[in-house]
Assembly symmetry: C2
Homo-oligomer: 669 residues x 2
């Protein structure tokens, strides 16, 4: 809902373009700046001692609307000072011993509300700004930062540098993210993959058995629903931010690379400890959750910037904005997204970016076979398909669906038939990180089950639960592998999500009966609730009635369903969804497409579940997928430092807990 | 889906009536009995050492269908033996030193599936049975119970008596149940009642601050969705059971009082310790969650039985079935449900049941004023309205809604205008229980926020969150009060739910814009997702745009919303719902009625949210409300013994953890 245009010294509005949001509620001028003077880092920011960050100051002069002021000319003579302890407030240049920076100016516009948008009457805001780059605070305690503008108006930001841990508890950190994974999904996955007799589970999810259980709050800095970029920023930097941002606070300028940056856990680990770093995801590797370990941009969609930052640094991406730290070429990068690597429209400057990685000493592998065969001694880039990797169900149960995708990571238009799963990637990554740990510096790995989220967006909950079960299986296998190589007791394992999707199982559906009915309302009567929900049809052989003595153990191997498409299926619903058709069956021919566009916006896809009933949604006509939700997500942890992950806390605390386990804070008093 | 009829010695079917379930999935012959020989307690049962239970054995002979056998004549010569350790299998009469019991016989019928139901072709089953009453096992370890029938067929039940705690940790137990409360609801309640600045909450829910966090699985013994009777049975007895049961395993007989019973935490506490007992609920006091502390019946709808068991005992209710323990007249009974007490159709034999309580030494109070004024020294019955008590929002914000209800607990048809809330009842209950603790025996109280569930059933999520916030406020006030009277360190406080409702917040709605649009799809576009969800409109003054500097502190008192009906409201959805109309506004004239019956089943109530959009549901036409869901629910605990509540476990484990904190196990070796 925001458009920005960098302008020269003139306060005249030069250009305004509007992003294409059709549905919207609160249109804020700038979420973290409720007054006309903006300070980034904003009020309430907490830092790890020594963590690098940029300062951005803005003074807004709205040209029109209820906040119109100063004739639309922003004050350029603002001052900014910082106070710690009982001393006075020192000018920013003196406090940090830096040169003053020059004034930048631009304009942006926004709509006050949906009525204004319908009427086409935007508010225009002119801005004067300064930025100070790559600073840090290393004395624990409280700080007050004060912007004075417009002849005496003040914006005060209270900052805190937390007292860091001084003793390192964990040599290694294995950080699993189940993207979009909620407790209702974990409960549903347990139902379909684990055998229960008379209400007693005979086996449990690995997550159920971790040493510590916590909850974290996922909301954004300026809205209560987050996206994955924003939430990953919170997990990796300890800073709440805005939807679509990667490790920056969103300013109002048009340039998405000039927003004030903050240092990530990966950068801190590289800078202070120099240990091995691994990034593993079942998404395209420039997607938000992996990207957020290394990239800094207002716009998560800048995939070329992201892969460039993997290989080089933020400073190299745009030399205007000094940023002296980086991920320094992660030892392991495994995922999809080959379109950013083979020469073409998606790769940096159209170059062969596989070759660029080889030139920097990387082994490059493009299939599971190559992955398993490659040496563990070298830095390794593994890219296994165009776009997101195949889903567990399609790789293991419905293998025909891998064909005809023309998604080979070579870019030659053949099919990527030999893809690893999260488990194969993660176990190999452990071996490489371990081999590249020369002394006792240890390693840090983020491993993401990305398609829990992606399949929930598609309302394809069977596939989403397959991905969730693969994550659980990966955790189980990783624990066994770490134990085998003698590193389990040295490794903090943390499992969490970045946000939720409204989803819950509410009954059992007789899919045969549903399919046989001719009216929507009669089809809906195929669902049994309460006592008639019945038992899990997924733990019995195909065609069997689910009862307490038809349970089968281990046909697909333990910890996965025996039957994926039973007559008696679970019936689940969503917090919000586009119009759809529903029959509660597995989508056997590939991921679901619930809605298709029409002149009237998205409508139910008539080819999705044609034997189902029509189920109109609640989302606006511009939304063809499910959306993220508010609920707290679970945190599971084991190993040294895991006790800190118990209880209820904010998403940003995950960063501080991991940083403390690794003793990454650097103080001076 | 089951009908039962007790019959004489004949195997001929005498009468079959069908319960009115229209939608259903799995129709099991008898959930806990997948073979033709049934053992109660069933396989996988775990006992507290010394806990009383009944044994029920059944042999089934289906007359028709795929299981038809023995010409429909059930084997009456079955045998049943019990083996512990390495000894042989001893006949039940010898093992327990009891007389053999006589054969009972009956028939029941069920439908194999929905096709059979549509065709009107039930399966008829004839049954031969025996029961043995009020037994116990006091040696920890594994047991094998074996039923042999039909000339050699076996049903084996594995039982375990858990090793109990020997040291008592807690003097008092305060057990809070938020009926139907899930983590997504807790997250939503935090959003509307607590102030967040730039993503940092300035205050937290009391639940967020408890010492221990856990998750519990709520599924039934024979279906994956539970009701509140069944789940309360799990929490209070450590035994999974069937929908609608209170502290029995569901057998197949018609008599709902002859099902095999099991002893509750309240009965154990009374029998072994003799401490004070309190039952508090915002529901009618014969409702499942309070009733399950003391009652034993297959049918939670037997309200007269329930209130009779409060005052007398299970044995007195039906002297045929020996049950030698009871709640022995709880010291505190506070709630609604006056229709079971004033003389009339709902009271036991039409008598004045208030007087019956007075005759047993109870003080009886019928308003908050009387409650606060009454002595803390006597047993006290407090009944404050017909049906469920008023909701927090109506008692505190929309007080006009209390009028015209004609729900006075006196039964005189006037309004119950002077009702206490959960906090007032719970704090007074603490005082009474404390005053009635003569020595060091301590007390046990269950306090239920019942209408979280009831309002979620009605899709009235604003009222549900009001009830949830009242629960949180009650916990906070209880902790403060216990501290004041010096009992906090002696008291284990446990907070949990009995099941979920699919519910989650997915965005923010501009209700003014929604109301102003003329088409359903345009109304749906009033919802903003992700960054356009905005900030909480509930923490700013009426009419203010929610931003980080319009936040107001404490207008309604801390920990409740400042504004309940803001222009920018949260938008929430359900896992499943009946057809409804939606506008995301507070229902200002009283609890919501989302659907009304029609010749075609339930349809959206045209008078509910007339300015909203039409939102068809997914539930069958017979369902006019929201339904329960699968998700694990949270457990929060503080005080002595609370560390045991960390992690992920089954609902039945709550019983064992509380029993261990009170050292209620009684072993003999």
């Amino acid at each position: 809902m925001r458009s920005t245009a960098t302008i020269g010294t003139s306060a005249i509005l030069l250009a305004l373009t509007y992003l294409g949001f059709v549905s919207a509620q609160t249109f804020q001028r700038l979420g973290t700046c409720p007054s006309l003077g903006c300070v980034f880092p904003p009020d309430q920011t907490e830092f790890l001692a020594g963590q690098l960050f940029d300062i951005r100051l803005e003074v807004h002069a709205p040209v029109n609307g209820s906040e119109a002021s100063s004739g639309g000319v922003p004050d350029e003579n603002f001052t900014f000072c910082i106070q710690s302890g009982k001393g006075g407030c020192q000018d920013v240049t003196k406090y940090f011993q830096v040169q003053d920076s020059s004034i930048e100016k631009w304009s942006f516009s926004y709509y006050e509300d949906l009525f204004a948008k319908d009427a086409g009457t935007p508010i225009v805001v002119n801005v004067a700004s300064k930025a100070y780059r790559a600073l840090s605070l290393s004395k624990p305690g409280a700080y007050t930062a004060k912007l004075v503008y417009n002849g005496g108006f003040q914006t005060v930001a209270n900052w805190v540098v937390r007292e860091p841990a001084t003793r390192r508890k964990a040599k290694n950190v294995l950080f699993f993210i189940g993207d979009g994974m909620t407790q209702p999904m974990i409960t549903a996955a347990r139902l379909i993959a684990h055998k229960s007799i008379n209400g007693k589970y005979q086996s449990l999810m690995q997550m159920d058995q971790m040493e510590a259980l916590g909850h974290q709050m996922t909301h954004s800095i300026d809205s209560f629903i987050t996206d994955s970029a924003n939430s990953a920023t919170a997990l990796y930097t300890g800073k709440k931010s805005t939807v679509n941002t990667l490790n920056v606070w969103a300013d109002s300028s048009a340039n998405s690379l000039d927003d004030p940056k903050v240092e990530t856990i990966a950068e801190l680990f590289r800078r202070h400890i120099g240990g091995a770093l691994g990034i593993v995801s079942t998404a395209y590797i420039a997607d938000a959750t992996p990207a957020a370990l290394c990239a800094h941009t207002r716009d998560r969609g800048q995939y070329v910037t992201v892969v460039t930052e993997y290989l080089t640094s933020a400073e190299a991406v745009n030399s205007t904005f000094a940023w002296p730290t980086s991920c320094k070429q992660p030892d392991v990068i495994f995922g999809g997204g080959a379109e950013q690597f083979f020469p073409g429209r998606g790769s940096p400057n159209g170059t062969d970016y596989y070759q660029a990685f080889r030139d920097k000493g990387y082994n490059v592998v493009l299939s599971n076979t190559e992955l398993q065969a490659t040496s563990s001694k070298a830095k390794t880039l593994g890219i296994f398909s165009v776009g997101n990797l195949a889903k567990w169900i399609d790789r293991n149960v419905l293998k025909e669906n891998l064909k005809g995708q023309r998604n080979s990571p070579t870019g030659d238009g053949t099919d990527a038939l030999d893809q690893p799963g999260l488990k194969e990637m993660t176990l190999k990554a452990i071996d490489i990180l371990q081999a590249r740990t020369k002394r006792n510096e240890g390693w840090f790995m983020m491993s993401e089950a990305a398609s829990i989220d992606k399949m929930m967006h598609a309302l394809d909950y069977d596939r989403a639960l397959g991905e969730l079960l693969e994550l659980d299986d990966t955790i189980r296998a990783s624990i066994a592998h770490l134990k085998k190589i003698g590193e389990l007791d040295n490794t903090l394992i943390v499992v969490t999500a970045d946000h939720g999707h409204g989803f819950d199982v509410f009954g059992g559906a007789d899919t045969k009966y549903l399919s046989a009915q001719t009216t929507d309302r009669k089809k809906r009567a195929a669902v049994g609730t309460y006592g008639e929900s019945g038992l899990s049809g997924y733990t019995v052989t195909e065609g069997a009635l689910p009862t307490n003595n038809t349970i089968v153990f281990g046909a697909e191997g333990p910890n996965f369903p025996v039957t994926w498409n039973p007559r008696y299926a679970y019936a689940a619903g969503f917090g919000a969804n586009p119009d759809r058709r529903e029959n509660y069956k597995l989508h056997t021919t590939g991921p679901r497409l619930p809605a298709v566009s029409s002149p009237d916006g998205y409508v139910a896809n008539p080819n999705d579940n044609p034997d189902g009933f029509n189920a109109p949604g609640t989302l606006g006509p511009d939304e063809g997928q499910g959306v993220h939700s508010l609920q707290d997500v679970s945190v599971f942890a084991s190993g040294p430092g895991s006790e800190a992950f118990r209880g209820v806390y904010n998403s940003i605390d995950i960063f501080f807990k991991i940083a403390d386990a690794l003793a990454l804070g650097r103080t001076s008093r």
